[in-house]
């Protein structure tokens, strides 16, 4: 069995080029749709954590490929932007590559895999390890925008619960976990409270990434295509993971360091390296790992 470690050593950056997809508008969407999404985005920023409905359009990629995030990016992006797209922390998965190519073609924007070079970052399942700045916008692909959906299937009811700030059911559900398992078991899409008001789904990022959302200097935008919702967290806004005084929120930790770059502070993926089930741990954020190795950091190379 061969070892496959998804960490490219070569950069996949491309330069800006004139948008070359004949017959399509800049960034694919028509102007009326962009205006509608743009208005929804402005209201989303004004009401942090609140889900604004929008008239989602059919996109040339299936749901599950981040059509909500793609529509938000298409409404936001301009010819001077530099776009990075990640999926599970990596720039080179099929999903990330397709989305990056889509915008390189339809908007002619430059693309990069270097977090620090990007002005717009579209993501599924991770927040980059390198702290984001005021000059960046982070766009999340969201499958299920409603944090209360598992507890209450009716949209009219969850809308009422948000309006009345009735979040008891969420606290009860988390506390049931503690009663059963001694801790809160959710490790992804761990609910947060935004600016002390709306409970919000951070999308299926690991809870390891939740603290990065809190008072982040970058603007955070969320798009759910199938469910037709947009929401936002403005820069420097409080984002607190729900917890209890006797069970404070905690993130994942590893005893191992990254085998490739030696990082002790990054989210690690477990990789099986042989048919005996031998494991090694590597950074999920492939750009972070590569930049560390380029800077001379080394891990122990994993099991010998």
């Amino acid at each position: 069995m061969t070892t496959v470690i998804p960490h490219p050593n070569a950069s996949v950056a491309t330069s800006a080029a004139p948008a070359g997809l004949a017959g399509y508008n800049f960034a694919y969407l028509d102007e009326q749709t962009k205006r509608m999404i743009r208005r929804a985005l402005l209201k989303a920023v004004a009401i942090p954590g609140y889900q604004v409905p929008f008239g989602s359009r059919e996109m040339p990629l299936p749901y599950g490929w981040g059509t909500g995030g793609i529509q938000v990016t298409a409404a936001v992006i301009g010819p001077d932007d530099v776009l990075k797209v990640i999926d599970q922390g990596a720039d080179d998965t099929t999903n990330a590559v397709s989305i990056r190519r889509f915008f390189a073609k339809t908007a002619g924007v430059a693309t990069t895999d270097r977090t620090v070079d990007a002005t717009v970052i579209q993501t599924r399942h991770r927040i980059p390890e390198v702290p984001l700045t005021e000059n960046q916008i982070l766009v999340y692909q969201v499958p299920i925008p409603e944090p209360l959906r598992q507890l209450e299937p009716r949209e009219a009811e969850t809308r009422k619960m948000h309006a009345l700030e009735e979040y008891g059911v969420m606290h009860v559900s988390l506390y049931e976990d503690i009663a059963k398992f001694g801790r809160i078991t959710r490790s992804y899409n761990y609910p947060v409270r935004v600016n002390g008001r709306y409970v919000m789904a951070p999308s299926p990022i690991p809870k390891f990434d939740n603290p990065k959302m809190d008072r982040m200097p970058a603007l955070q935008l969320f798009g759910a295509g199938r469910e037709k919702r947009i929401y936002a967290v403005p820069p420097y806004t409080d984002v607190k993971s729900l917890d209890f005084e006797d069970h404070p929120f905690e993130i994942e930790t590893w005893e191992e360091d990254c085998s490739l770059c030696g990082a002790q502070d990054s989210y690690l993926d477990e990789v099986i390296v042989d048919d005996k089930g031998t494991k090694m741990y590597v950074c999920s954020d492939s750009d972070y790992c590569r930049e560390r190795r380029e800077a001379g950091h080394q891990g122990d190379g994993g099991p010998k």
């Binding site: 009326q32 009401i47 301009g78």
Partner: protein, 198 residues
């Protein structure tokens, strides 16, 4: 005498200019009190400022009724907005998605749509034209989008607006959002921004 209306042109490159103006407004809304400068590509009919006109061209269309304060209801301004945005002009501020008024005479903020608790995004975005807008002494702003405080000097607003603003903040998640405009300079005050006069 003549019935000819001076219809000024819109954006020369509508797709790219609308995107650029939107990004400036988005950044202004995300960082309340930071001033964004809109390129001087439009020559809108008086009394519409470059900033107010560009915001309308970028964001308004037949889905967004606009309310104009009386001094903005000139044949050329109405023709400009109707032709380039296709937006209905409404008589009642509470029916407007966008409103344009002067700082000295802007109606009481509770005259505009405030949305409701289940649909707070249905409130009016009020574009307020001022004499001047500058970073520096004057208002002290805090809240989401602001690391510590932002300072903003907004000249030409009637003084009792800030009392109404505090009441507006008390309506959260409902409430209007403001975009202050002086010429081609804009700054936004979303409903979450706390304003104190110093």
């Amino acid at each position: 005498m003549t019935d000819t209306i001076d219809l000024r042109p819109g954006f020369a490159d509508p797709v790219i200019e609308a995107q650029n103006v939107f990004r400036l407004v988005l950044d202004a809304m995300a960082r309340p009190g930071r001033i964004a400068t809109i390129p001087e590509s439009l020559q809108p009919p008086s009394p519409l400022s470059v900033g107010a006109a560009a915001i309308c061209l970028a964001l308004a269309d037949h889905d967004t009724p606009i309310w104009l304060a009386p001094e903005f209801r000139t044949p050329s301004a109405i023709a400009f907005l109707k032709f380039h945005c296709g937006c209905p002009i409404v008589d009642v501020p509470a029916n407007a998605a966008f409103a344009i008024a002067n700082g000295a005479t802007v109606p009481a903020l509770d005259q505009f749509a405030i949305g409701d608790d289940a649909w707070p995004e249905t409130s009016t975005t009020v574009i307020v034209q001022l004499d001047d807008l500058a970073v520096g002494d004057g208002l002290v702003l805090s809240g989401p989008g602001i690391e510590t405080t932002h300072r903003l000097n907004a000249r030409g607003l009637r003084v009792d607006v800030w009392g109404e603003w505090r009441a507006n903040q008390g309506l959260f998640p409902c409430g209007v959002d403001l975009i202050l405009v002086a010429g081609n300079r804009i700054a936004a005050l979303p409903r979450t921004t706390t304003v104190s006069e110093n």
